[in-house]
């Protein structure tokens, strides 16, 4: 990473509020999802504190739901590695727009990449987010992780005492979160063709393999978008340097 040639981005005091006004609702959406994850951990037969360990150290929402099942059934580590690669391969693209260059310290950069979840990506794709300061970016990411770990821990503790059917359907929060993030991405850039391409790629991927739907859909979507971009280049405002 060559950051030395980049101009430091001027600190602007105004966006603090906007950074958090964008982040707080998403963090509040993560909380019920964390509850669902915590309840699942206990339901699978693990001690409650594994919910805290998973959500703190792995910190990758949808993958954690899968991992609990794998941890309990004792699948080989190679299978855990392959599943992680497949489910999380989309994160490769997040480096294109995440404003890591605004984060100053090495520790900060290490944490910012560690905590680069779908939600952190979604709130930093807006043009305004390119001007967020180091503090704002890390602050938003820490806030998201506190919501997630807090939800997971409480969910596990609650799952240990409550009958589990009271929490049936709580995992819908993940679907609701992505519906909302998709609507906001559309509002930022109303592009029906891209939305349609994504739906078709998801459908084709499901038809090919339910189990490996994510990597197939992302590979197909990326390929079509590259092809479209080559055929019809559009004027794109310059990225933050």
């Amino acid at each position: 990473m060559d950051e030395s040639t980049r101009e430091p981005v001027a600190a602007d005091p105004a966006p603090t509020e906007s950074a958090f006004s964008v982040a707080v609702p998403v963090g509040l959406g993560l909380f019920p999802l964390g509850l669902a994850f915590g309840a699942l951990v206990v339901h699978a037969g693990l001690s409650w504190w594994w919910a805290t360990v998973f959500s703190t150290i792995v910190y990758a929402g949808s993958l954690e739901f899968l991992l609990v099942g794998m941890a309990v059934s004792g699948v080989p580590l190679a299978q855990v590695a392959v599943s992680t690669l497949l489910v999380n391969s989309r994160h490769v693209f997040y480096s294109l727009s995440f404003p890591l260059h605004n984060v100053d310290s090495k520790v900060g950069k290490a944490y910012a990449t560690f905590a680069l979840t779908d939600e952190a990506y979604a709130v930093t794709t807006s043009p305004e987010a390119q001007r967020w300061t180091s503090r704002q970016i890390i602050g938003v990411q820490v806030f998201f992780q506190v919501c997630w770990v807090g939800g997971a821990t409480l969910g596990a503790l609650a799952g240990a005492v409550l009958p589990l059917d009271k929490l049936d359907g709580l995992d819908f929060a993940l679907t609701a979160l992505f519906v909302v993030l998709a609507i906001e991405a559309y509002r930022d850039r109303p592009d029906r063709v891209t939305a349609a391409v994504a739906v078709v790629c998801a459908g084709v991927a499901l038809a090919i393999s339910r189990e490996h739907m994510l990597p197939i859909a992302f590979a197909g979507f990326t390929a079509v978008q590259v092809w479209r971009a080559r055929r019809h280049p559009i004027e794109v405002p310059a990225a933050a340097p």
Binding site: Y59, A71, T84, V92, L116, A173, D191, A198, T222, P233
Partner: protein
């Protein structure tokens, strides 16, 4: 269940996830000015969120109950978001409606 085995699962998944998130910055960030990547950068978010949405419901069997509980839940979430634009309210109300339907007909 052996805690060491579970810890190994956590370590492997965490290490690979971090690698996938951190390493592309070295490879892709210097290419940010590349026109093709710049165009991908702005068109990817919508598609990624659409695919993730479909992924979260792809493991569900298409029974009548599920179509209603998920369909109505998604509809309520989307309409609230389009109308009021309060992320947390859309998620919480949508999830509550879905859970109520699951308790009622599920």
């Amino acid at each position: 269940m052996n805690p060491v085995a579970i810890a190994a699962v956590v370590a492997v998944a965490a290490g690979i996830t971090w690698g996938l998130r951190a390493l592309p910055f070295a490879a892709l960030a210097p290419l940010r000015q590349n026109a093709l990547l710049a165009q991908l950068r702005i068109t990817m978010p919508l598609g990624i969120m659409v695919i993730l949405t479909i992924y979260t419901v792809s493991g569900i069997d298409a029974t009548g109950e599920n179509v209603i509980t998920y369909g109505v839940g998604i509809l309520v979430t989307a309409v609230l978001q389009l109308w009021k634009r309060h992320v947390s309210i859309s998620i919480l109300v949508g999830t509550a409606v879905h859970m109520a339907l699951v308790a009622w007909i599920g």
